[in-house]
């Protein structure tokens, strides 16, 4: 067998480049009259680019005052959740080629949290709910001298909810959270689920008690917005339903 040679370089082809228009919902708190407004930028992007790349191009080449969060830029840190074309996604995981480029790409801050500047929102209410479900191992007794063992089956029980990166895409896609910021929100419930169903944890009762609150899991209307929004593919609504079920089986 001899290796067949194909015609070089020419068949590989260049990555196509095209113009994209980004339409930002901006807000400047230091302006004389702080009012949200829309602003459009057109940049040249490549076929392999993500929305974040186009945003970088705007910030680095056109308008340095455009403000947004991003850290790792690879879908792990959860900093750049934003509302892109009406859907909550991570700018670093949304490819331009998957969007309709004949129209401007509409980019807004995530809803339901106070906007600090442009796409940066105050995440404190979100993290306050997260802290309230006690997202840490609660275990009684002596400190073990070796690791706490767990069977693969027990580990698999809560595997889905360990994937959360706390980007707030789910919580800020929830219509109940939009109208009432008191609601714990899907992310806090997901992180409670991660410990409630952990065989090594002994704080399930306290966590369920917290989530049985008036603003707890019972405000969930199972609209599945959170499951659709999650960039990690966590079945958020299912996790919430499991927490509800655990509460009911505990009560009867």
């Amino acid at each position: 067998m001899t290796a067949t040679t194909t015609s070089p370089a020419a068949s590989v082809g260049e990555v196509p480049s095209f113009d994209v228009t980004l339409r930002f919902r901006r807000f400047d708190p230091d302006a004389a009259n702080p009012e949200p407004f829309w602003q459009e930028f057109t940049v040249t992007a490549h076929g392999t680019d993500r929305v974040l790349d186009a945003m970088h191009k705007v910030k680095w080449e056109l308008d340095g005052t455009l403000t947004f969060r991003r850290s790792c830029a690879h879908g792990i840190c959860g900093s750049d959740a934003m509302r892109i074309n009406g859907r909550n996604r991570l700018a670093c995981k949304t490819l331009l080629k998957d969007l309709d480029l004949s129209k401007p790409i509409v980019i807004e801050p995530i809803k339901g949290l106070p906007v600090v500047k442009d796409l940066v929102v105050d995440m404190e209410p979100f993290f306050a709910s997260y802290r309230e479900v006690m997202p840490f191992l609660i275990a009684q007794g002596n400190t073990p001298s070796k690791e706490r063992r767990q069977s693969p089956e027990d580990r698999a029980r809560y595997d889905d909810t360990t994937k959360c990166i706390l980007c707030a895409a789910c919580t800020t896609s929830c219509p109940v959270f939009w109208t009432d910021g008191q609601y714990f929100g899907p992310a806090a419930i997901v992180n409670a689920h991660r410990f409630i169903f952990d065989s090594r944890d002994e704080g399930a009762a306290q966590r369920l008690e917290v989530l049985n609150d008036k603003e707890g899991v019972w405000r969930c209307r199972t609209t599945f917005n959170c499951t659709d929004a999650c960039p990690r593919g966590i079945e958020v609504t299912k996790a919430i339903a499991e927490v509800k079920r655990a509460m009911i089986t505990r009560a009867f």
């Binding site: 006690m134 007794g141 400190t143 109208t179 008690e209 209307r221 009560a251």
Partner: protein, 149 residues
């Protein structure tokens, strides 16, 4: 060396009694009554509209005949109460979700409670005090068992 896990303050202690499970029971009621209502409503519809003479059979005599039987009295009473509580609770939740101003909430919820009370009281009253054989009514309009009239 610490040999025990560090003690974690306040929120760790169980506080079972301080919270009520009102919202949980409300949620369970919505699911249970919803499932029950499916059976109640569809049986009601089939008996009234499909079985026997169909839609054309419904007249005073038909309704009076049904309401004279204890089974249908209980059935209709359950239907009335469950549907009204289910619907009212659903609307209460929607008002809580979407009416942000206290005044709006108060007005909407008052109207809701008023509507609920009127319908439930009136309906219950009719089911229990209904007279299938009113005196002096033409015999051809009355159910078959009204021989005395």
């Amino acid at each position: 060396m610490a040999t025990t896990t560090p003690t974690i303050a306040a929120p760790r202690s169980p506080h079972r009694s301080s919270r009520t499970s009102w919202e949980m029971y409300g949620w369970i009621f919505m699911r249970a009554s919803g499932a029950l209502l499916l059976v109640l409503i569809f049986t009601h519809l089939i008996v009234n509209l499909v079985m026997g003479g169909g839609v054309s059979q419904i007249d005073f005599g038909f309704v009076a005949g049904k309401l004279a039987k204890p089974v249908w009295q209980v059935w209709d009473l359950l239907l009335l109460w469950l549907a009204m509580i289910h619907g009212t609770n659903g609307l209460r939740v929607i008002i809580n979700d979407y009416a942000t101003r206290t005044g709006t909430r108060l007005v909407l919820k008052s109207a809701l409670v008023l509507a609920f009370t009127v319908v439930v009281v009136l309906g219950t009253l009719v089911i229990f005090t209904f007279d299938p054989c009113p005196v002096g009514a033409p015999a051809d309009l009355l159910p078959s068992f009204c021989t005395a009239g």
